[in-house]
């Protein structure tokens, strides 16, 4: 039976190689292409190992688009969102976790509903709203809509709920103000969740192509993914080596983060899967 054949040792070797090729080769090809000369890129059959290696494509990519400008925008937008999210998520999660107040269920429900409304629906009305406010092509239009995260509130609330009441009572009797209790008891205990949220937010914001594309009409605040896309629009046909060079630079930060925090990241994303 095919199944048992595959699970047999030799079969596994073949299967593993196949998997590795399918999922790794494209990345290899991307990097290789970025080092090829333009002439070499259009060779068919293509060279698996390039005969000449050059860094020129990277320089070209850097020059063809205002690379540092886009990079700067990505950094500004990503970190602003990270910071704003911390300021909106932490108090809200704390309130939902530790206070009993009228309407808390309803308000929490609003958050959950908001979580399910995708940007692919909100972009049109928000574009109109921002243009009426004169905020198109401003950082605000890229940052504010993501200044909070209902998923983050959900996760952090779970974490805060697990802090034992005794600990809070002991801290109260130790003359700790509520603010101090949050800083010294709740936040340290919720650190893993906070790190997870930060990772998820960083990755999704850095990678975001949709929102910076549809909410802007000029390159003023556009982020790196949108910037690299304009490498496609070269007049005399597409220079794939330049495009791949840009792509490599785009992927590099995320890949580094992934290599450094693999386990954490996988845990973060797969938790989302069965939330």
């Amino acid at each position: 039976m095919l199944f048992s054949m595959i699970f047999h040792k030799a079969g596994r070797c073949v299967m593993n190689t196949l998997l590795a090729l399918i999922f790794f080769f494209p990345f290899y090809w991307m990097v290789i292409t970025s080092f090829k000369t333009l002439g070499d890129t259009v060779l068919f059959p293509p060279e698996l190992i390039p005969s000449t290696i050059q860094w020129q494509s990277y320089i070209d990519a850097f020059k063809a688009i205002p690379f540092l400008h886009f990079l700067g925008n990505s950094l500004i937008v990503t970190f602003s969102i990270l910071i704003l999210q911390m300021f909106t998520i932490i108090p809200a999660a704390y309130a939902f976790a530790r206070y009993e107040f009228k309407g808390s269920r309803f308000l929490f429900g609003i958050a959950m509903v908001a979580m399910m409304i995708p940007v692919q629906l909100t972009f049109l009305p928000l574009f109109i709203l921002f243009s009426q406010l004169g905020l198109i092509n401003s950082y605000a239009s890229l940052i504010l809509p993501f200044a909070s995260s209902a998923f983050g509130i959900f996760m952090l609330r779970q974490a805060f709920k697990q802090v034992p009441q005794e600990l809070v009572e002991a801290a109260r009797m130790d003359h700790a103000s509520e603010w101090r209790i949050i800083c010294k008891v709740f936040l340290p205990l919720a650190r893993p969740v906070l790190v997870t949220l930060a990772l998820l937010t960083f990755i999704s914001t850095w990678n975001d192509y949709f929102w910076p594309l549809v909410l802007t009409t000029s390159d003023a605040v556009r982020t790196l993914p949108v910037g690299i896309a304009s490498l496609r629009n070269v007049e005399s046909g597409m220079y794939y080596n330049t495009l791949m060079a840009g792509n490599v630079m785009l992927i590099l930060p995320i890949m580094l983060v992934f290599l450094y925090a693999q386990k954490q990241i996988i845990k973060a994303f797969t938790y989302m899967g069965d939330k």
Binding site: P164, E166, L167, E169, A170, A171, R172, M173, D174, H175, A176, S177, R180, K184, V185, P188, L189
Partner: protein
């Protein structure tokens, strides 16, 4: 004078669930008062009311002559040791102990000194820079104690602090707590469900059930002179033998209203040891079980009046199913009326 007084205190959750109806209690200054009773008897609630973690639904709480009902827990000059220790897991032992002091903005040198004193008493000096997670149960217990002691409170409140320790450690800590109390001479209010703990540590025992105080006395007095069946059977191991004597043949020295009679297993003796002049009650029966405890043996005997346990220090073990004759002296018997209250012979 850090005396604690409850006047007609009441604690109710919603309108339906009243945990404590009408509590009137004086906890003497400098005492080691143990609140003891089965689960749900209201002892923890009472402790938390003293702490201020629960408010009084009605009545007054007065400490040191001051009315405390509205005073916040942190302003009551008390310290509390929790059942699960409630140590801050992300802080070192030192930081745990000085947390309260830091919050009150006490300067560093003074803090160092206070901590040094306390740490010496509880023998934690080598652990100051460790995290609670790295400590054993007994060590965590001592950190919790140190944290309470460093505040130099007028009252120490303890909510079943030994129940999470293993048996041997519990015994050790019991003596340590007794010595601590003697040394500090501060009021200790201690909650437990374990009557041996209560008996060994307390200067005053407050026995509670269903939100009501059943007896408040020194340990030896509760043991020797219980006010009701509940007290008689809760205190002392094994529990006091208790019989409904309405059907029993009349005896001239049994009080009129007496419906129940009880006597301690340790006061039961084998018939051979009786002397002629004793005023005694005899029992006869078959040995059902025996439990060997090293220095003593506890037997359960099936008699016509019911099962009776007796405790002896005889080294020879009597075999099961053996027929024995035992007696108890009249003066060791306690009588209770049909409301389960004690009837005292004149």
């Amino acid at each position: 004078m850090s005396e604690i007084v409850f006047f007609h205190a009441k604690k109710a959750y919603d309108s339906k669930k009243t945990v404590i109806e009408d509590l009137n209690l004086v906890i003497p200054d400098g005492s080691f008062t143990v609140l003891v009773g089965p689960s749900g008897c209201g002892k923890s609630t009472t402790l938390r009311m003293i702490a201020g973690l629960e408010s009084l639904s009605d009545g007054e709480l007065v400490m040191d002559g001051r009315r405390m009902n509205e005073v916040a827990p942190e302003d009551r000059d008390i310290a509390m040791v929790f059942q699960n220790f409630a140590l801050y897991p992300t802080m070192t032992v030192r930081e745990n102990i000085e947390f309260g002091l830091v919050n009150k903005k006490i300067p560093r040198e003074e803090r160092q000194k206070l901590i040094a004193d306390v740490v010496e008493t509880v023998r934690l000096a080598e652990y100051l820079d460790k995290n609670p997670g790295e400590l054993s149960g007994g060590q965590r217990q001592r950190v919790a104690l140190a944290r309470a002691m460093v505040k130099k409170p007028k009252v120490f409140l303890m909510d079943e602090p030994l129940s999470n320790l293993d048996a041997r450690l519990r015994n050790e800590m019991r003596t340590e707590l007794i010595e601590l109390h003697k040394r500090l001479q501060t009021t200790f209010v201690y909650v437990t469900h374990d009557q041996t703990e209560a008996m060994s540590m307390a200067t005053d025992i407050v026995l509670m059930s269903n939100g009501v105080i059943r007896q408040k006395d020194a340990p030896i007095k509760i043991y020797n002179d219980p006010n009701n069946i509940f007290a008689a059977q809760f205190i002392g191991t094994p529990a006091m033998n208790m019989f409904d004597i309405r059907e029993w043949p009349q005896h001239n020295s049994i009080p009129e209203q007496a419906r129940y009679m009880g006597f301690r297993p340790s006061r039961v003796h084998l018939a051979q040891e009786a002397t002629a002049s004793m005023d005694k009650m005899d029992f006869q029966g078959r040995i059902l079980t025996h439990e060997f405890f090293g220095s003593e043996i506890i037997y359960r005997v099936e008699t016509d009046n019911g099962i009776l346990s007796f405790k002896t220090f005889h080294k020879d073990e009597l075999p099961l199913d053996m027929e024995v004759q035992v007696y108890v002296e009249k003066r060791d018997c306690y009588f209770f009326d049909d409301k389960q209250n004690r009837v005292r012979c004149s």
